[in-house]
C-alpha cells in the first residue's frame, strides 16, 4: 500500500499543546483502565440460545424478518426468501462458504433455470459488479459477527466482498452462522481490535447493519428504504 501524505501537522499540534498548557507528548500515552465498564455486563450471562431469543425480539423492532434454519434446509430457506421478495436479479459476495454450505446448486443451477438472474461479485469484472448490484432485486452477504442486543450484522469488505452488495439492491439477506452471535457491539469492537493488534489489517470498510435503510426526516414519520434496501431478512444457520 502506498503511503499517504501529512500536511501542516506540526504547527497545528503545537497550538493544541500550548492551549493545554502541557509539554508535547509524542509517546507514552496509554489508554487508562476505565473506572466504569458497564458495557461488559450487558447479556454477559446469556447462553447461545438466549442470545437468539434476544436477536429475534430485536428484529421485530427493526422491521427485519428472521428465519431459523440448519445446513440441510438452508438452500430451501434461502430460496423461499428470494422468491418472497419477488425473485431476481440476485447478487452475492463471492465466498467459499456458499459452496461449503451447499448453496452452489441453488445459486448457479436452479436460479438460472428458473430465470432468476444471479451475479456473484468478481473483482476481475470491475465496474460490472456495481452495475449488477444497482439493478439487483436481492443482495446476499454473510455476517462475520452478529450483535444480539441491537440486531446487527457486521460485514468486512474484501476484493470479492463488495461494499455495495448490501446497499444497492432493493432487498437484503444476511446469512448468519449461529456461532457468530455475541451479546453486543462491545464484543465486535474487542474482536476488531484483537485482529489489528495481532498484525492483521483492518478491512477498509466494516459495515454494521441493523435492518433496512430508514429515515424519520418528514414530520418524524418512519419511512423505509430511503437510500438502501427496503426490506431485510436474517437467516440464522443453527449448526454453524
Amino acid at each position: 500500500m502506498m503511503t499517504g501524505t501529512i500536511q501542516n501537522r506540526e504547527a497545528f499540534l503545537e497550538k493544541i499543546t500550548n492551549s493545554l498548557g502541557k509539554s508535547r507528548r509524542t509517546n507514552g500515552v496509554t489508554v487508562p483502565e476505565w473506572k466504569h465498564r458497564p458495557q461488559d455486563t450487558v447479556l454477559s450471562e446469556a447462553t447461545a440460545d438466549k442470545l437468539i431469543e434476544v436477536l429475534k425480539n430485536q428484529c421485530l423492532k427493526i422491521h427485519t424478518s428472521l428465519v431459523m434454519t440448519d445446513l440441510k434446509t438452508l438452500p430451501a430457506a434461502l430460496n423461499k426468501v428470494v422468491q418472497d421478495y419477488g425473485g431476481g436479479p440476485v447478487v452475492s459476495w463471492k465466498d467459499e462458504r456458499f459452496t461449503d454450505w451447499g448453496l452452489d446448486s441453488l445459486m448457479k443451477e436452479q436460479w438460472p433455470s428458473e430465470n432468476i438472474e444471479f451475479h456473484q461479485w468478481d473483482y476481475t469484472k470491475v465496474e460490472e459488479n456495481i452495475r449488477q448490484a444497482e439493478r439487483a432485486n436481492v443482495g446476499i452477504t454473510i455476517s462475520e459477527i452478529t450483535l444480539a442486543e441491537s440486531g446487527t450484522v457486521v460485514l468486512f469488505s474484501a476484493k470479492d466482498k463488495g461494499r455495495t452488495v448490501s446497499f444497492l439492491p432493493a432487498t437484503y439477506i444476511a446469512l448468519i452462522p449461529k456461532s457468530t452471535i455475541v451479546p453486543r457491539i462491545t464484543q465486535a469492537a474487542q474482536k476488531m481490535r484483537e485482529m489489528h493488534l495481532s498484525g492483521k489489517e483492518v478491512a477498509s470498510c466494516i459495515n454494521f447493519i441493523t435492518g433496512p435503510s430508514n429515515s424519520a426526516d418528514i414530520e418524524l414519520n418512519l419511512v423505509v428504504g430511503v437510500h438502501g434496501p427496503v426490506k431485510a431478512t436474517y437467516i440464522v444457520i443453527e449448526d454453524l
Binding site: 500536511q7 497550538k15 492551549s19 459495515n207
Partner: protein
C-alpha cells in the same frame, strides 16, 4: 451554508420562532417523542449513570491528550495510503478541498450530512468553484432543494417543515407530481439521489468519530446515505472537527452506543460504517483516493479554558430535545447551525460574542440539558459562565441589564440607600402595578415585562415585617 444562519437580529429571530405555530407544535412533539425514546433507552440499560461516567471519562482523556491522539491518527491514516491535512482555519480547509476538486476536474459532489462542513461554509466554496453539490441526507436534501433553508435541529434538520410544504417544494423544484405522503416524497428523493451517487466525482462526509489506533473513522446514519457517498465516487474527502476522536475501537463502540441511544433512542442506528484508508488494491467499490481534513477553526482556543468540556460533545442533540427555551423559540432563533443548549455554549466560542452574546441568555438555567448529556457536559454551568464573562470581561451585557446591575450595586452598597430604595420601591412602581403584578415595567424591566409579568414589590418590606413580628404585631 455557514455556521451563522440568517441576517435577522436575535429579537427578530425569536419573534419569528414564537409566531410560527406549526414549527412550535412540531418541536414540542419532537421533544416529547425523542425525549421519551431516549429515556426508555437509558432505562432499559438500567445503569445509565455508569455509562455516562464512562463517556465523560473517555472524552476527557482524549481532550487532555489531543495532540498525542491526533498525531497517532494521522500516522496511521498515512500508513494506509490516506492523505491528512491539518487546517487551522476554515479558509485553509476550503482551499485544500478546492485544490483537490481542481486536480480531479470534479463537477459533481455528493455529501453526507456534516455539521463541520456547514461551519466552514464548504458548499458555497465548492459552488463558487463551479461544482454541483448534492446533500444526500433526506432532511438536508429537502432544505437544499428549498433554496438552502437553514437546518433547525442537529439530528432532524428539516423538523420545522410540514409534509405539505415539502410536497410543494418538490413540485416546484423537482417536477414531483404525487401526494404529501412521506413514503412517496422519500421514494422520489431516492430515485433522484440514486442517479447522483452513480455520477458523482467526489464524495464528502463528516466524521462521527475517528479511531487513533487504526486510522479509521466511523459514520453513523439511519439512511445509509453515507455508505453510498463513500462507496461509489472515486475520491473521498472526510472533514472532522479536531476533537472528534477516540483511542481505539473499544472506546468507539461506547461512544457510538451513547450517541445512538441519546439521539434517537436506538440501540444502534441502521448503518454504522467504519472506514480505514482508501479501498484496497483489488477492491471494486470504495474510493481510490482518501483525504482526511482535520479542522481547528477556533477549537484550540477553547482547550485549556473553563469551557473545555463543551469539546466533549458528541452531537446527539439530547440537550436540545429537553430544552424549554428551544421548545418555545425553535432552532432558527439561535442564528447558528448549532442550536439549543449546546449551540448556546458553542456558538459564542466559535463565532464570537459580538455575533452570539444573546445566546447564553436564551436559557432558563434549569439544568435539564446537563442532566441528559451522555458525556456529562455541565451545559447550564457553562451558560452561566458565559454570562459572567460577557458581563465582567467583555462588557457586552445588554444595556438594560448593565444599568440594572449598576443601580442594584449602588443601592446595595450603602445600608442607607438600600433602606431608602426598598421603602420607596412600592411607591415608585405604583404607576406600573396592577394587583400584585407589573405588566408594563419601565427601564430595565421593560424587556422582561414585554413577554411576562414581574411580581410587584411587597408593600411591606421583609425587614419591617420581621421587626413587627418580633414585637408580636405581624401576621403569621
Amino acid at each position: 451554508m455557514p455556521m451563522k444562519i440568517g441576517t435577522n437580529d436575535f429579537k427578530k429571530r425569536v419573534e419569528n420562532g414564537i409566531n410560527d405555530s406549526f414549527m412550535r407544535g412540531a418541536v414540542a412533539g419532537a421533544q416529547e417523542r425523542m425525549g421519551t425514546r431516549r429515556q426508555d433507552a437509558a432505562d432499559e440499560l438500567g445503569n445509565w449513570e455508569e455509562w455516562r461516567n464512562l463517556g465523560e471519562e473517555i472524552r476527557q482523556h482524549v481532550l487532555d491528550n489531543l495532540d498525542y491522539y491526533l498525531e497517532q491518527l494521522s500516522e496511521n491514516i498515512a500508513k494506509r495510503g490516506g492523505h491528512v491535512f491539518f487546517a487551522q482555519t476554515a479558509e485553509e480547509a476550503n482551499d485544500y478541498i478546492k485544490d483537490i476538486v481542481k486536480k480531479k476536474n470534479a463537477k459533481k459532489i455528493v455529501k453526507a450530512k456534516s455539521m463541520v462542513t456547514e461551519e466552514i461554509s464548504l458548499n458555497s466554496t465548492l459552488e463558487q468553484a463551479g461544482c454541483t453539490v448534492v446533500e444526500t441526507d433526506l432532511g438536508e436534501y429537502i432544505l437544499q432543494v428549498d433554496d438552502h433553508d437553514p437546518p433547525s435541529h442537529i439530528v432532524v434538520p428539516a423538523l420545522h417543515k410540514n409534509k405539505e410544504q415539502i410536497r410543494d417544494v418538490f413540485t416546484q423544484k423537482l417536477g414531483y407530481q404525487k401526494t404529501e405522503k412521506p413514503e412517496e416524497l422519500a421514494w422520489h428523493a431516492r430515485e433522484m439521489l440514486r442517479k447522483e451517487y452513480l455520477t458523482a466525482d467526489i464524495g464528502i462526509t463528516g466524521c462521527n468519530f475517528a479511531v487513533a489506533e487504526t486510522g479509521s473513522f466511523a459514520l453513523v446514519t439511519n439512511e445509509g446515505n453515507a455508505d453510498l457517498v463513500t462507496s461509489l465516487p472515486k475520491t473521498q474527502i472526510t472533514v472532522m472537527g479536531m476533537e472528534r476522536l477516540v483511542p481505539t475501537f473499544e472506546e468507539l463502540e461506547v461512544l457510538v452506543s451513547l450517541l445512538t441511544r441519546s439521539a434517537v433512542g436506538q440501540k444502534l442506528t441502521s448503518y454504522i460504517t467504519v472506514l480505514t484508508g482508501p479501498r484496497e488494491e483489488l477492491d471494486v467499490d470504495g474510493p481510490e483516493e482518501f483525504h482526511l481534513v482535520i479542522v481547528d477553526n477556533g477549537r484550540s482556543k477553547i482547550l485549556g479554558t473553563e469551557f473545555q468540556p463543551i469539546l466533549q460533545c458528541i452531537r446527539c442533540a439530547a440537550c436540545i430535545n429537553v430544552c424549554p427555551v428551544y421548545r418555545h423559540v425553535g432552532g432558527h432563533s439561535y442564528g447558528s447551525i448549532y442550536s439549543g443548549p449546546v449551540g448556546a455554549v458553542l456558538s459564542p466560542l466559535l463565532g464570537g460574542y459580538d455575533e452570539y452574546k444573546e445566546l447564553p441568555y436564551a436559557s432558563t438555567l434549569c439544568g435539564a440539558c446537563t442532566e441528559v448529556c451522555p458525556v456529562k457536559i455541565p451545559l447550564h454551568q457553562l451558560l452561566h459562565k458565559h454570562r459572567q464573562v460577557i458581563v465582567e470581561k467583555e462588557g457586552k451585557a445588554p444595556i438594560s441589564e448593565k444599568l440594572a446591575m449598576k443601580a442594584f450595586g449602588l443601592g446595595a452598597a450603602s445600608p442607607m440607600l438600600y433602606k431608602f430604595g426598598s421603602k420607596a420601591a412600592p411607591a415608585a412602581m405604583n404607576p406600573f402595578t396592577a394587583g400584585d403584578k407589573i405588566s408594563n415595567g419601565p427601564g430595565p424591566l421593560k424587556a422582561w415585562t414585554e413577554i411576562r409579568e414581574f411580581p410587584a414589590p411587597n408593600k411591606e418590606r421583609f425587614r419591617d415585617w420581621f421587626e413587627n413580628r418580633e414585637k408580636g404585631g405581624g401576621e403569621s
